[in-house]
């Protein structure tokens, strides 16, 4: 059998399997993201969406299957490796260090250091300040680079998680429930951010339960159901209402039609 050409796509996840103990969470999932494409990944609670993207970002090891990034097979699955490749993630759990300062949170896991590993704190503060004002649009004087994350509001915390993923220039940005706990105005900002990803020629995976947020910004939809891909739709082939109907039907009956 001829090798399939994976270079047409930015990411190809092929027959991915994952079990936690005896529970099979992903059963041979095929999932792709094209160049400059926004993919909406939807599905019920516990469908395996977060697990799937955590395999891509190297947090979890797959039990089976292959991953290709820009046509190249990935053999080492680690967070560092996926970052090197240009994948940035806003996790559903936000992945913050609540008792630490803002600047430690922005740079956690990839601190700016000198050769001996000592932190360049001034530089990290300066960059954090920039992210704060320019990308997150925080204007409140009460919030600065020394603020402890624990005392920030839910929206502000999400702002850090998103701002952090933006700062490090990535080719693929993954957002797992980025609008969770955000006000309408903040949600709009997050959605605009995803549109911007498209405008600057990059790709994104957008996970959300809310079809009304996903539909307008995504180019394509993938429905995950109990560890299987239940459906794939191009936006041009399905209306928002049809997509919504399909999901409701799937949740009720466990079948696509």
């Amino acid at each position: 059998m001829a090798e399939k050409d994976y270079s047409r796509k930015l990411v190809s996840m092929v027959e991915i399997q994952k079990s936690f103990g005896k529970v099979e969470v992903l059963k041979s999932v095929n999932f792709e993201v094209g160049h400059n494409e926004i993919v909406g990944l939807v599905g019920d609670n516990g469908a395996g969406k977060s697990t799937l993207i955590k395999i891509l970002t190297g947090v979890h090891q797959p039990n089976g299957g292959e991953i290709y990034f820009k046509g190249e097979k990935i053999t080492i699955h680690s967070v560092e490796r996926s970052r090197e490749l240009g994948i940035e993630t806003v996790y559903q759990e936000q992945a913050l260090s609540e008792q630490q300062t803002m600047w430690r949170n922005i740079f956690m896991g990839r601190e700016i250091t000198d050769k001996l590993g000592f932190l360049k704190i001034k530089q990290q503060r300066r960059e954090t300040e920039k992210i704060l004002r320019e990308q997150m649009g925080f204007t409140s004087k009460a919030i600065n680079t020394e603020s402890i994350v624990k005392y920030l509001s839910g929206g502000e915390k999400q702002g850090i998680a998103i701002g952090r993923s933006l700062y490090f220039d990535a080719d693929l940005i993954i957002l797992d429930e980025p609008t969770m706990g955000l006000s309408l105005a903040e949600t709009k900002k997050a959605l605009d951010f995803i549109r911007n990803v498209k405008d600057i020629g990059k790709s994104a995976i957008f996970i959300s339960h809310n079809i009304y947020y996903v539909y307008p910004v995504a180019d394509r939809f993938v429905i995950l159901d109990r560890g299987n891909v239940a459906g794939r739709f191009l936006k041009s082939k399905i209306t928002q209402d049809e997509l919504f109907e399909k999901m409701v039907h799937l949740a009720k009956t466990g079948k696509m039609r």
């Binding site: 955590k54 970002t57 190297g58 947090v59 680690s78 967070v79 560092e80 970052r83 993630t89 996790y91 759990e93 936000q94 992945a95 913050l96 260090s97 609540e98 008792q99 630490q100 300062t101 430690r104 956690m108 896991g109 990839r110 601190e111 250091t113 590993g117 000592f118 932190l119 704190i121 009460a142 600065n144 020394e146 603020s147 402890i148 005392y151």
Partner: protein, 327 residues
């Protein structure tokens, strides 16, 4: 502005300093004659560093969200290796300077390996550290008993060596070298915790392991290193404490556990991990280490010691807790 890190930490450190000054004022008032003379400070400087150095190391362990109860036994066993090997080498005709150099390295290696064993039990076999180190605590203490058969070892043969002076010599006949080591290590630990990538990772791992993992921090490696530096510092304390009396007691390390932990908590480090202060531990170690001498000096009998330990711990922790809640 109580929400910034600097403000919070400054307030904590000021309250620790307050507790410290309060206690010393009590000492001064209670026994002005003792506390205006150098002798008592000399004795503090020669004894406090043993548990102080281990307090710095265990602070890092606690910040990382783990616990180690085995360090006094590691201190005992690596100290025994140091002393026993010294005597073996001396008897076989080795030059004392060379002997102490070799045995020091062996002692450090013993401590680091013992720490690595704790790390493996926690990281690989996934035993909670509190439980795992109860096991290793008995194990290393037991090994001293089995190997030493209850006998001590003299350290007189290495007394006139260069390293002996480096470890516990007296600077200008007045300042014990171990006090300087304690100072240097406090500065080093402070730097590592606040200014180094490793310290950052320790804080983040102790704060939220899952977040640390998702952000690509090698959690297991951080924890291993934390346990290994604990073992190293315990072995250093073992060398210092046994050289100070030029004798290795087979019970070396006993009695250090609770005092050292008390120093850390009186110093304001949280039991829950993710935050901590080396400055606090430094002051905490001095408070705990000077209580016994101070209590006797102000004329109370030794029977009072534990009662006052208890009071100081409860009162200082209440103060910190009050400040934390007010944020």
């Amino acid at each position: 502005m109580g929400k910034t890190f600097i403000a919070r930490e400054l307030r904590l450190e000021i309250s620790i300093l307050g507790v410290f000054i309060g206690i010393f004022l009590l000492f001064l008032i209670g026994s002005p004659r003792t506390f205006t003379r150098f002798d008592i400070y000399y004795s503090f400087m020669s004894t406090i560093p043993f548990s102080g150095i281990m307090a710095l190391a265990i602070t890092l362990v606690i910040i990382s969200g783990e616990m180690d109860l085995s360090f006094p036994s590691i201190m005992g066993f690596s100290g025994w290796v140091f002393a026993k090997l010294s005597n073996v080498l001396i008897e076989s005709g080795t030059n004392p300077n060379l002997t102490i150099l070799i045995t020091t390295l062996c002692c450090f290696a013993t401590g680091i390996i013992a720490g690595a064993l704790n790390g493996m039990l926690v990281v690989k076999i996934r035993i909670p550290s509190l439980v795992a180190t109860i096991g290793t605590m008995f194990f290393w203490r037991g090994l001293v008993n089995v190997c030493g058969q209850g006998f001590g070892e003299t350290l007189v043969p290495v007394k006139d060596t260069f390293l002996f002076k480096v470890f516990i010599g007296r600077l200008g006949e007045a300042i014990p070298a171990q006090a300087l080591w304690f100072l240097v290590l406090t500065a080093a630990f402070w730097l590592i915790l606040k200014r180094h990538k490793f310290g950052s990772h320790v804080l983040i791992v102790g704060d939220n392991v899952e977040s640390a993992r998702m952000m690509g921090i090698r959690v297991n490696r951080v924890k291993m290193t934390v346990f290994m530096q604990m073992g190293f510092c315990a072995s250093l304390a073992g060398i210092l404490a046994s050289l100070e009396v030029t004798y290795l007691w087979p019970s070396l390390g006993e009695g250090y556990l609770l005092r050292t932990l008390a120093a850390v908590f009186v110093g304001g480090t949280s039991v829950f991990g993710g935050v901590g202060t080396m400055f606090g531990t430094f002051i905490g170690a001095i408070i705990i280490g000077s209580l016994e001498g101070g209590i006797v000096a102000i004329g109370l009998t030794g029977f009072w010691t534990q009662l006052i330990y208890g009071l100081i711990i409860v009162v200082s922790l209440s103060i910190y807790s009050y400040f934390r809640r007010r944020e």
